[in-house]
Amino acid sequence: MDSSSSSSGAGLGAVDPQLQHFIEVETQKQRFQQLVHQMTELCWEKCMDKPGPKLDSRAEACFVNCVERFIDTSQFILNRLEQTQKSKAVFSESLSD
């Protein structure tokens, strides 16, 4: 049997499903990690004065609020963008005819 065709579709663009699943899971995890890095950096600026011996409860609450408001902001932007795009869609559709 031809050795190249006995491998699981390497030449056909199909990926080993185990590897495919792994890639999807790790990509998801990385997206999460990246956002945590980003939000920690942003919220540090907003919530931290002088680093003390421990994270006091006010600073901790600030970090939690900061995360929530950041995600709210992100959703707000997406929603509003979608709305303004809808009113523009009629315009761009008539151009593509």
Partner: protein
């Protein structure tokens, strides 16, 4: 010679690349990259907080500040991670 050389390795390609090994190596590389990212941002933030006008060396108060800052940054990171995770779970529950 045996024709089933590649089939012992999970059947996902040529003879030598065990996908299990690849996945483990990738996980390690990802973990290293995340640690580097964390260190880089932590260094940036703690330098800003703790070093005023740069002197000829790091004095004792600066070193103490940096040490505390590192711990607080880790606390902050963990708090953000938990808060984000909770929010994601709440969003999924609402779908």
């Amino acid at each position: 010679m045996e024709s089933g050389f590649g089939s012992d390795f999970g059947g996902s390609g040529g003879g030598k690349l065990d996908p299990g090994v690849i996945m483990e190596q990738v996980k390690v590389q990802i973990a290293v990259a995340n640690a580097q990212e964390l260190l880089q941002r932590m260094t940036d933030k703690c330098f800003r907080k703790c070093i005023g006008k740069p002197g000829g060396s790091l004095d004792n108060s600066e070193q103490k500040c940096i040490a505390m800052c590192m711990d607080r940054y880790m606390d902050a990171w963990n708090t953000v991670s938990r808060a984000y995770n909770s929010r994601l779970q709440r969003e999924r529950a609402n779908m």
